[in-house]
């Protein structure tokens, strides 16, 4: 929502301190978010995405804003066909922008089975490993030399967007790309309160304070 209303540059500024959470623009964007919430059935910020997607499948809801992995859920778990049973569109205002997150594995210092861990990491990072994992989950590879034929339907369009040099890339909040744990957990709290109280100005102020406290 913030990304669509503010645009990618100001959105990124939210996480680097360049965009003021208490500014009129942000408050206006949060106000719009408020209106969207009013039209949704979300009663808690902890609502899960699968039940929401199920409602779209049942026809009780029109759309859901979700990530790539929803394609894995619809296509594989629910056996629906892309374009005939479901379709995708960029969230309003976010055309040409890619809100990214990545799954990563770390190699801890002092790992007990270092050789095995390195082997696993090499496998994950290889073209073959990437092409085995990603289509299953419903995500796209981090490598540019992956086999594009493995990414069909929705994933083909996602991959095309991702590799298009004109696409602007921003980081996802929910998945810890732009905020550290402390800031992230404070935002969780503020969002939970916002969904109950629906007060955009208070929400912005709370996050501005959390940002300053956890910098």
């Amino acid at each position: 929502m913030l990304l669509g209303e503010l645009g990618p540059d100001k959105y990124t500024g939210l996480w680097t301190g360049k965009t003021d959470w208490k500014s009129a623009e942000v408050t206006a964007a949060l106000d719009t978010f408020n209106k969207v919430l009013a039209a949704s059935d979300i009663k808690s910020s902890a609502a899960d995405w699968q039940p929401a997607a199920d409602r779209v499948i049942d026809g009780a809801a029109v759309y859901t804003v979700m990530g790539d992995w929803l394609d894995g859920y619809l296509g594989r778990a629910k056996k629906l066909t892309f374009k005939t049973d479901y379709d995708v569109a960029a969230s309003p205002g976010s055309s040409g922008v890619y809100d990214f997150l990545s799954d990563s594995f770390t190699l801890p210092i002092g790992a007990k089975h270092r050789a095995a861990a390195e082997k696993w990491l090499t496998e994950c990072g290889s073209v073959q490993g990437q092409d085995l994992f990603n289509p299953q989950k419903g995500s796209i590879p981090a490598r540019t030399d992956a086999d594009k034929a493995k990414y069909q339907n929705y994933l083909a369009t996602a991959l095309k967007d991702w590799q298009d040099p004109a696409t602007k890339i921003v980081g996802s909040l929910t998945h810890g790309v732009v905020a550290n744990n402390a800031f992230g957990s404070e935002i969780d709290t503020a969002l939970g309160i916002f969904v109950q109280k629906r007060d955009p100005a208070a929400f912005g102020a709370a996050i501005a304070k959390a940002y300053a406290d956890t910098k």
Partner: protein, 298 residues
């Protein structure tokens, strides 16, 4: 003097390992937790500075704590304790004068206590599903089937201030059998001669209960209130498995967990935990003191 020490010394030595373990793990840890609550520790590396009561003061202007957690736990405790007491008392009353199959009834009322709060929550979150129309299920469907559709509720997903009261249902399911057995033990502890004497004086059964049995149940009721209240204040897993991060059922115990181990706000978590400890201690310390004293008088 030496002879007396030789008499009780070995006993002290035998229980010393336990005493030391508890001294460290209970009192040492509680003290250290208070110390952490007076520091500015945030993030992975512990801070050993001293910031006074700053974390506590911050909590009193923390919206999540003051506007959600504290009222939530107050509502939950009230509904859970009052509800379990009422149900437990009525069940004990029904069983007190002896019925055929008493053991079977007692077992049925008590068994939920053997089930973990995690499993209890997993079962009840489906029973308290808030689907309506074609997707209506769980308790709502039972109510509708019994012609009580008007009682349809969104339970803990409701927008109401009282959403957390719904969690008192699984909590009471789990523990009102316990209250029943406390009351039952109390009622049966009243000597039959006392009741008989009252009956001879021409008192009706309800009057016998009111004037003879009821006064003797007061200590039992106090035990039950104390035990249920302390369980209510510290319960974590029931809420956690029911709908974690739903601020409508957030409590100090959950806030402490998430802010400490997800957010890394150790000092704040320690402050919440210390307040919880204070809350529990105000009911428990007088209770232990009273129990041990009563026992000594016997």
């Amino acid at each position: 003097m030496m002879r007396r020490i030789r008499a009780w010394g070995p006993g002290l030595v035998l229980i010393l390992p336990s005493l030391i373990a508890l001294a460290v793990f209970v009192y040492g840890f509680l003290g250290w937790n208070i110390r952490v609550s007076l520091s500015s520790w945030r993030g992975l590396a512990p801070a050993h500075d001293f910031v006074g009561l700053r974390n506590y003061i911050a909590l009193f202007s923390d919206q999540r704590f003051t506007e959600f957690d504290v009222p939530n736990i107050a509502i939950f405790t009230l509904v859970f304790v009052a509800g379990s007491l009422a149900i437990g008392f009525v069940m004990a009353l029904l069983l007190d004068r002896g019925v055929t199959g008493e053991n079977a009834f007692r077992s049925v009322y008590l068994f939920p206590m053997a089930i973990s709060f995690i499993a209890t929550a997993i079962i009840w979150r489906w029973l308290m599903d808030n689907g309506s129309g074609e997707s209506e299920t769980g308790i709502n469907k039972l109510l509708a089937g019994a012609g009580l559709g008007a009682l349809h509720s969104d339970w803990f997903k409701s927008g109401s201030r009282w959403a957390i009261a719904a969690i008192a249902l699984p909590a009471g399911w789990s523990l009102s059998g316990y209250v029943m057995s406390l009351f039952l033990a109390g009622m049966r502890g009243v000597p039959e001669e006392l009741r008989e004497a009252a009956r001879v004086d021409g008192a009706s059964e309800p009057r016998v209960f009111w004037h003879v049995v009821r006064p003797m149940l007061l200590p039992v009721m106090m035990s039950a209130v104390v035990i249920l209240t302390h369980i209510s204040l510290k319960t974590f897993d029931l809420f956690y498995a029911m709908d974690q991060k739903n601020i409508k059922i957030d409590t100090p115990a959950l806030y402490m967990w998430f802010t400490t181990f997800d957010g890394g706000f150790y000092a704040r978590g320690a402050a919440i935990a210390t307040l919880l400890l204070l809350g529990v201690a105000t009911v428990i310390v007088p209770y232990i003191w009273y129990s041990v004293r009563v026992e000594r008088r016997r």
